[in-house]
Amino acid sequence: MSAKLSHRYRTQYTYLMQTVVTILIAVFCLTPMFYILSTSLKPRGAEYMIPLELWPSKPTLQAYRAVLGIVEEAELASESKGSMVLPADQARIVKSLSFVTPLRNSLIVSSAVAAFSLLISSLSAYAIARLRFRYKIQSLIFLQLGAMIPIAVTIAPTFMLMRSLGLLRTLLAMIIPNIFYNVPMSTWLIACYFAELPFDLEDAAKVDGYKPIQIFWKVIIPLAAPGLFSAGVFAFLGSWGEFMLASAVSMGIPAVQTVPAAMLNFSVQFRYEWTWISAAIILSVALVAFMTLVFQRWVIRGLTAGAVKY
């Protein structure tokens, strides 16, 4: 009896401790995010008020409007009495630094990277998972070696390559290299998925009258959709957060900057405007956070494919 009780007590204690530790970690990770969110909702200047407000008493979307470039001169003038910069100039600067362009650029870059790396890696994954050819293992290792080289090391050569291709200051200079950064990982993920599909399906489709490339599109791809999807999400998130290459090849031109590169500019330009910086951060994180929350189950399924039979 007492043994039973103490066992139950211990189980409850373990459960309690696990919960406490989990909450502590979550608080530790989320506090900065929470404070950024709270700051982004404060009116301009309120972030300096003492005592510090944990949550704004009157939340406003002012900072978001400013960051997205939808501000009026008058609004700025009334806010920035005593500022060295004229309201008109300030409005112009804000508009030029508006976060709409970087968000749009990032969306283009990330979507293109996801789409093209999926296209390439689904084909290479098919070869690795399904075909018999010489030097297969070697080529797989070679492919993965490519993924092990830190991007920082390749920045300079990539930059020169893009320059000689005349692609500097264009989104293509971000899209093309990012595709190849993502191909090894995507190939690996998708190949694990392909490897699980029974060979009989392909054989059946062959005698049913389909050529291999048709079988690839009509049978293999639909069945590997979860794997393709998680590989796509990875590629998207990876290139969304990519900073070094993006800031190098965009060369400070706002029209071709992605979110991480624009973020740097923005925080230098408006280093005292914490509400604006916070709003920009929230905007740049919102999409990926949303994607992660919605698709996390699929992504995890994709990552664990091939690990266990289920």
Partner: protein
């Protein structure tokens, strides 16, 4: 419709020879069963005919056309797989329609033919389901439907019933045979189950180690096995083999525990052969079990008895080896009891003790 012919077919996987110069004709409209233990090359032969595997040597003809260089999607064949290989992301309708769509057949005709096939196989109510919502038997029917919907020249079936439970398997066996007769399409059927092979085949081909052991009508193969392997493989329970020494002068066979007259039809062959040992083969259903001694009966000790409903399977120890006999259920000897075995000499098979080949008869 067309017959299929393979000539000198050789297939090697590395150092392993899966098919060793196999030549065989599958007649037009017939159901030919390839049977043998796993690894005997029967599935490999089927896959080569389908074009899913390249032969190392030899040729395959469908009708009069050599198809070695024709890819599977251009051979007009249909195949049913052991795993059914239904496309999991498609409905039953789309699964059956899939081969038709490859042939650019009009939508209306696809619909009509799929519905006709579904009705034939009792699948009409299931057309909108996905494979995972079907039972094993239903999946089997869908796989069949996908094969017959396109009216191929040849059906290839790779152990299509082996994933079904025993009862359903026997049902489907009869249904499949009837379907094949109705459609009259040349069918090559692979199985490792000798009962399935016997019941379904117009022509039976027994294989082992990539070599054809014997082919012929099932009754012929059953009653005149060409070697001990065929004798042991076809028929259930398997044929009993007893090694005997030969007394040519007396035309007698001597087993450790008993002796018997050599059947007269073998006497000439035994004499001509001049060897002093032979393998005696008797099928369990040809062994008669007696409770008391009779002239010429052989003593045996009951090892175990297995009632099977309408008959009893008796395992007895005779001449230091175990033998099986099928007896009526009214004979119920206990374990360890002595019984007496007799057999009709007309049912006896004799095999060469070195080559395992059947001895020729007069």
């Amino acid at each position: 419709m067309a017959g299929v012919r393979v000539e000198g077919l050789l297939k090697k996987f590395g150092n392993v020879t899966a098919l060793d110069h196999v030549s065989l004709e599958f007649e037009d409209g017939q159901l030919t069963v390839l049977v043998g233990p796993s690894g005997c090359g029967k599935t490999t032969l089927l896959r080569i005919i389908a074009g899913l595997e390249d032969a190392t040597g030899g040729s395959v003809f469908i009708g009069h056309e050599a198809v070695n260089q024709v890819p599977p999607w251009e051979r007009n064949i249909a195949m049913v797989f052991q795993s059914y290989a239904l496309y999991p992301h498609m409905t039953v309708f789309d699964n059956i329609a899939f081969p038709l769509r490859a042939r650019k057949i009009s939508k209306a005709e696809v619909k009509q033919r799929v519905e006709q096939t579904a009705a034939l196989l009792g699948l009409s109510e299931l057309l909108q389901r996905k494979p995972r919502q079907l039972s094993g038997g239903q999946m089997q029917r869908v796989a069949l439907g996908r094969a017959i919907v396109r009216k191929p020249e040849v059906f290839l079936m790779d152990e299509p019933l082996s994933n079904l439970d025993a009862k359903l398997r026997v049902e489907m066996r009869a249904e499949l045979k009837r379907l094949q007769k109705d459609l009259g399409v040349t069918t090559i059927y692979v199985t490792h189950d000798q009962a399935e092979a016997m019941t379904m085949a117009d022509k039976l081909v027994v294989m082992r180690g990539g070599v054809i052991q014997q082919m012929g009508e099932p009754e012929e193969v059953y009653s005149h096995p060409r070697n001990t392997f065929v004798g042991g493989f076809i028929g259930s329970p398997a044929m009993n083999f007893i090694r005997c020494s030969v007394d040519c002068a007396e035309a007698e066979l001597h087993a450790p525990d008993f002796q018997c007259k050599a059947p007269s039809r073998f006497v000439e062959a035994l004499r001509r052969r001049g060897k002093d040992s032979v393998i005696l083969g008797v099928r369990p259903e040809d062994l008669k079990v007696l409770a008391s001694f009779e002239e010429g009966a052989v003593p045996a000790t009951v090892y175990i008895s297995e009632p099977m409903g309408k008959e009893m399977l008796l395992t007895v120890e005779v001449g230091g080896a175990l033998a099986k006999a099928i007896t009526p259920t009214n004979v119920r000897p206990r374990i360890g009891e002595t019984v007496w075995l007799t057999f009709d000499e007309a049912c006896v098979h004799l095999f060469d003790s070195e080559t395992d080949e059947a001895l020729p008869t007069e």
